[in-house]
């Protein structure tokens, strides 16, 4: 509580020194005697107005309400009037106060250092989001309640991709049915150590993101989706290559189709839905993105995640059954003849 000592000490002269338990409330009351005025603002050297007002009710309802005092975050406010601050712009002000969060939320703060947003900060992009841009400041509430709020938060900057997502099978289920299973932005991109397709290894790891749900039997059962999609993908040329390239942990190598290359990313549709890149009528065009010159027959080389049964792929089925019979018959016959020969050699001795 060291950081909250200064203000109560100062206030003690004017007010009767309160017991420690209620010191937060008293301190907040004192700060809000000025900062509770809705119109309180300063004009920064940039010419921007910066509100200095705090909504008492919003703070009380926030996750920090009743837990933190003003000076827990706003240090160096012991003197009244406060010392002049060096901020030239609103953004400088916001970025400087970002440092306050890490004193308590160090684990999440250090995760943000690995984020794509921090990468933008390092490159000098002052618009890259810091804690308060996503969480708010005095009015912080749990960011995933309701769950739709997550994508709305990201949409503040990523509007285009957010609109695309909202039209996808996942986004529609989230907004229309308040579905708790479909991925929101942070399920794939993570919340604090936010990463995107430019992160090393992201592309080859992306099937794991899909597989986290689509290989889960209990979850997929609810929607009548087969969990064999992952296995049938890996068993095929693209999936085998991708899984081996990933194990090698070396970037590069021949580019092969991953889940997202056929199904899309933010715009994923149901496979049989109009507009889906993988629906039968669009499949050839999807193949041609990587295989220019592909003909209609070529796209049917992919068995659409089906097992090669007699009904779905009679030619493949016939080859499988044929060799299943031929190989044991052939090798068994040869081994038998070897054993007979050896027996004859032994008997002749």
């Amino acid at each position: 509580m060291l950081h909250s000592l200064f203000a109560p000490l100062l206030v003690a002269l004017a007010l009767q020194a309160p017991p420690q338990a209620s010191s937060n409330a008293d301190q907040i009351g004192m700060c809000l005697s000025c900062h509770g005025e809705p119109g309180m603002a300063v004009t920064l050297p940039s010419g921007e107005a910066r509100s200095l007002a705090v909504d008492r009710g919003a703070f009380a309802r926030s996750v920090h309400g009743g837990k933190l005092a003003c000076t827990d975050c706003h240090s160096g406010m012991a003197e009244i009037p406060h010392q002049a601050r060096p901020f030239k712009t609103r953004r400088e002000f916001t970025i400087a106060y970002n440092e306050a969060c890490k004193r308590c939320h160090f684990a999440n703060y250090s995760k943000t250092l690995d984020s794509v947003h921090q990468g933008a900060v390092v490159r000098g992009d002052v618009t890259a989001p810091v804690c308060v841009d996503c969480h708010g400041s005095h009015d912080i509430t749990p960011p995933d309640r309701p769950r739709t709020r997550i994508s709305q938060t990201c949409a503040a900057c990523h509007e285009g991709v957010s609109n695309t997502y909202a039209r996808s099978v996942h986004g529609r289920a989230l907004t229309a049915d308040n579905n708790a299973d479909v991925p929101t932005c942070t399920d794939c991109h993570r919340a604090h150590d936010v990463a995107g397709p430019h992160a090393p290894g992201w592309r080859l790891r992306s099937p794991e993101l899909c597989g986290a749900c689509h290989a889960s039997e209990p979850m997929m059962k609810k929607y009548g989706i087969s969990t064999e999609v992952m296995r049938t993908y890996v068993a095929d040329f693209h999936g085998m290559t991708a899984s081996l390239q990933k194990k090698r942990e070396v970037e590069g190598g021949a580019v092969v189709a991953l889940c997202i290359d056929c199904h899309g990313v933010h715009d994923i549709m149901k496979a049989d839905e109009k507009g889906s890149a993988v629906m039968q009528a669009n499949l050839l065009r999807t193949c041609q993105r990587c295989h220019p010159g592909a003909t209609q027959n070529f796209s049917s080389a992919w068995l659409s995640h089906y097992e090669p049964t007699f009904d779905k792929a009679p030619m493949v089925y016939a080859v499988r059954v044929g060799y299943l019979v031929l190989i044991p018959f052939m090798i068994g016959g040869l081994v038998l003849q070897i054993l007979l020969h050896l027996w004859r050699v032994v008997v002749n001795r």
Partner: protein, 224 residues
Amino acid sequence: MSDYVVRFTLRQRIEHFSVMTLFTILVITGLPQKFFDSAWAEAIILGLGGIDRIRWVHRAAGILFTGFTALHLTLLVGSVLTGTGSLSLVPTRRDFEDAIQQLRYYLGAADAPARFDRFDYRQKFEYWGLVFGAVIVIATGVVLLFPLAATRFLPGEIVPASKLAHGNEGLMAFLVVIVWHIYNAHLSPDVFPFDKTIFSGRISVERMHHEHPLEYERIKAQEE
């Protein structure tokens, strides 16, 4: 008659050596692709520099193998057409009789083994097994290497069917070589530890007499 007979020409010995080398490369780079999800296969693939590299090596070796096979079959057809070739590897009714005779002998139902000419039925089986196997892996390999061209006039299902057939045919060839060829060329008590004939080209008169009596007698008759 000297104590050995020249059984294989230099060209035949080079052909065997080439096929042996290419077959080994194709098996090492091919079988792990068929069984890529097992630990041993993954170790081989990653140990040899990753899937893209072993696939490149497999394709290069496959193209060479295709070239050797085409050359061999062209020369074979050419020599038969011009009457200079030998038909000693063509299977005949006699081979089936020999096989039955040999099995009867092994089982104790016949007193003597079959008497063979230049190539016995087992050698003919292996030669034609290699030729037919080569035709299958080459045809399916071409489909896998050129799927766009193949599906221009064949149904798409030819691609996954070729993939399955290519891997299974390769596996069967590998097993036949490991079981049958290694036995007949190395482990059989008749030749243990190593039948060098296909490398030196020479076979001893004693073995000729024992393993290819009909050919031995014919050569002897010609010499006299």
